[in-house]
């Protein structure tokens, strides 16, 4: 253990290496309830620092776990096998904003919201918007291929990655992609590293695509007595040729939970509510579209539709959605938030089955998600101090994953696999896929030191 610390200090300088018991606790967890302390933490400032750290780890054969702000929800950045945590938070420079080609070049530790604020000053826009965008870094977002409410219209983080700089297991620097939109020379290594959760290399820089910032946004909220109607509405809106910037769904469980905690005056005799936004650079079109959305909602069974007239009203409409997390926290000490995806049309069936699971185990679950892309967040509420409850949670999670797979969906839409979903990965992907993925992993990490025990189940 002392060897690692001493060698790391020698390699990158004492001030960039942490190893006190207090520091090791600080770097032992992510946005979940699991934790495991590393043996050392490094705060590199350059690609060379990262390479030097990997070389030390490779020589000593100890695990290397990369992280940003560690707000992940699947255990992906927890150093379960000990080793060295590489915190990229100090590599946080925005290197270049190319207005003409609409790209931005950044270091991995840039906070996503900071990146967004900077490019928006120039009328540009980086759309992926995980709700953790203030407490997650772009490197982490790429490594988990983060999503967010805007994904239906704008796509996920990976859709905006044009190129990457990655430090490989042997300390070499791999640079992929470039500013050209079209690039078909060789295998698409950029995509290989997107969503790889630090298991194939450590992303230190990224070249990202930007779009023009939409200048106008309109927001509507609709209450649906019938869950099925809310789902039909989502399809009807898309079929009408409107691609909303967001299409957020909260079911009865979520509305009740919020109402109990926040007293916002939400109706409790409806099965679902939708928050829908249209955006764009043509105000008339955006307004026309939200009007059309409201009309469709009414036709497909909404009991009440509200369209915000100004920013203050927009804020009010969002209040319920933003209150989800605080409301959950008031209900129970722990929550486990899943993020299954199903085909859009299967949302009502998925929700019904999940609620039946919740009832059969007697643990409350709260469901909300993105109605446009079929990504649902069923949250189990529990108290981890009660071993009986924890056992039930594990069973519930397995059953929820089964629901997703049975309905033609998958385990994770935007959080990633980490360790939380490992036991279900083979079922989701099949043996052939797992075999191929392990071959890729071994080619890029022959010593199995890069975030070991994540993403791929042991074979």
């Amino acid at each position: 253990m002392t060897d690692i610390v001493a060698e790391l200090q020698e390699a990158i300088g004492e001030e960039k290496v942490l190893s006190s018991p207090v520091d090791l606790i600080a770097y032992s967890f992510d946005g979940t309830f699991e934790q495991h302390a590393p043996e050392a933490v490094v705060l590199p400032e350059t690609d060379e620092d990262v390479a030097a750290v990997i070389k030390v780890a490779s020589r000593l054969e100890v695990p290397v776990v990369a992280r940003g702000m560690s707000s992940g929800l699947a255990g992906g950045s927890i150093p379960f096998s000990g080793g060295v945590v590489v915190s990229l938070t100090r590599m946080n420079r925005i290197l270049e904003i190319d207005e003409e080609n609409m790209t931005v070049s950044v270091e991995a530790g840039v906070v996503t919201a900071d990146l967004q604020a900077e490019v928006e000053k120039l009328g540009l826009f980086f759309p992926p918007d995980p709700s953790s965008n203030r407490q997650s870094t772009i490197g982490g977002n790429i490594a988990c291929d983060a999503g967010g409410p805007r994904c239906l219209k704008y796509g996920v983080t990976g859709d905006y990655v044009l190129g990457l700089a990655v430090v490989l297991h042997d300390g070499r620097l791999l640079e992929t992609g470039g500013k050209s939109i079209k690039n078909v020379v060789g295998y698409d290594l950029t995509s290989l590293f997107v969503g790889s959760e630090g298991t194939l290399g450590i992303i230190t820089r990224a070249l990202l695509r930007l779009v023009a910032r939409p200048q106008f946004v309109r927001t509507a909220l609709a209450y649906f007595p019938s869950l099925d109607d809310s789902s039909r509405t989502a399809s009807a809106i898309l079929s009408a040729g409107i691609v909303p910037a967001t299409l957020e769904l909260m079911d009865e469980t979520a509305m009740t939970c919020i109402e109990e905690a926040m007293h916002l005056g939400l109706p409790l005799d409806v099965e679902a509510m939708l928050i829908i936004e249209t955006d764009g650079s043509d105000e008339e079109a955006v307004v026309r579209e939200i009007g059309e959305v409201a009309r469709i909602c009414r036709e497909t069974g909404a009991r009440e539709v509200k369209v915000a007239r100004d920013e203050a009203e927009r804020d009010t409409l969002w209040k319920a959605r933003r209150s989800v997390s605080p409301s959950l926290a008031r209900q129970a000490p722990n929550k486990l938030g899943e993020d299954i995806t199903v085909p859009r049309s299967a949302i009502p069936e998925a929700i019904r089955r999940i609620r039946a699971i919740s009832e059969s185990y007697g643990l409350p679950m709260v469901i909300f998600g993105h109605a446009g892309d079929g990504n649902l967040h069923p949250n189990v509420l529990f108290d981890r101090r009660d071993p009986g409850q924890w056992e039930k949670v594990e069973q519930i999670v397995g059953e929820v994953f089964n629901v997703a797979l049975e309905l033609g969906g998958t385990l994770s839409g935007e959080h990633g696999v980490g360790t939380f979903k490992l036991p279900y990965v083979e079922q989701a992907l099949g043996a052939t896929s797992i075999d191929i993925q392990w071959r890729v992993k071994r080619a890029l990490d022959p010593q199995n030191i890069l975030n070991p025990g994540k993403v791929l189940p042991d074979t």
């Binding site: 600080a26 946080n92 530790g109 997390s325």
Partner: protein, 391 residues
Amino acid sequence: MASDVVAEEFTRTVEEEALHCVRCGLCLAVCPGYRESLDESDSPRARVALVRAVKEGLLEEPTEGFSNSFFRCLLCGACTFACPSGVAVDRILELTRGEMAGLSLLPPALAELDDRIAEYRNVSAEDNDGRLVWADNLPEPPTGLGKEKAEIAYFVGCVGSFFPRTYKVPQSLVQVFDRAGADYSLLGGAEWCCGYPLFLNGELDRARDMIKHNVEAVRAMGAKKVVTTCPSCFLFWKHTYPTVMGEEDLGLEVQHATEFLADLLEAGRVKLREMDETVTYHDPCDLGRKGGVTEAPRRILAQIPGLRLVEMAENRDSSHCCGGGGNLETFAPDVGQAVARSRIRQAADVGATTLVSACQQCERTLANAARAEKLRIRVKDITELVLEAME
């Protein structure tokens, strides 16, 4: 020494508060200390995790390193305000600091500060009777000087009393008082440290002595109101004094000077001249987010003709600490200085030529930061600005 009361509350709070932290990390986004160091060890989330780690046996008994992480905090309260799970991080910090004091794990500089306050009744280790030196070279002696009975007790606070660079704060306020014909008095040597620094260092028992003395001194004056210019004195008087005294209220109205001035100016009895300035207002943490006074200072600024108020990106409840909080200056000055520089850059970003605050500590810290950043921004206390507008 940490009192038993603190020890009991500590246990309860760790169970009830720390347990509700879901580790989402949102506090990192608002923590001024973390934002400078970019090291999770300096984050509110890590501090909560440390408290829990001790309870769960993952960490052995608190060590110096453990203690230091709780004192390397500005106590600005941004994390508590932002926490979606409603975890009272500020409470966890206060109580853990109390535990550390009880275990003699207070950083030496802070332990010395506490001894100084207990001995001299002020933070500066000066003769406490020298509290009114600032009143010596005013054009007219303040009418509140040596007055035995008055409606308002002006509680100047240690920094305003003993730090020559901040003399202008009490000097300005007494001149405004006098022009407005207010019936006020100055406590002089009968004013002791409000006790807040002791409380922040976890020394509630020592703070209690200060509190009792100050309440008696003000009562002896027959005052109906205590006015402070220091937001920390204000916060402590308003929210902690009644609890410690075991009284629902003290039979006294506690007002920050900005509240007094806002009412005074809005009543229209004072004529103000035009000021052609672009001003931004910095909300002191103890006054705004923690004390609940965010609008009074803005009401004052709105009364000054010609003055343009521009808001920094982070304002009111979301204000960014000046860097001068948490007694950190005496213990880890580097953290505060970096935080201060970030804050003054926010003022530059919105084109302010003057930054106004309502706290002598914010003013001092931010004025230093403006110099360090070579920015042409004047930093003033709002009482000073009001006096200028009256001239």
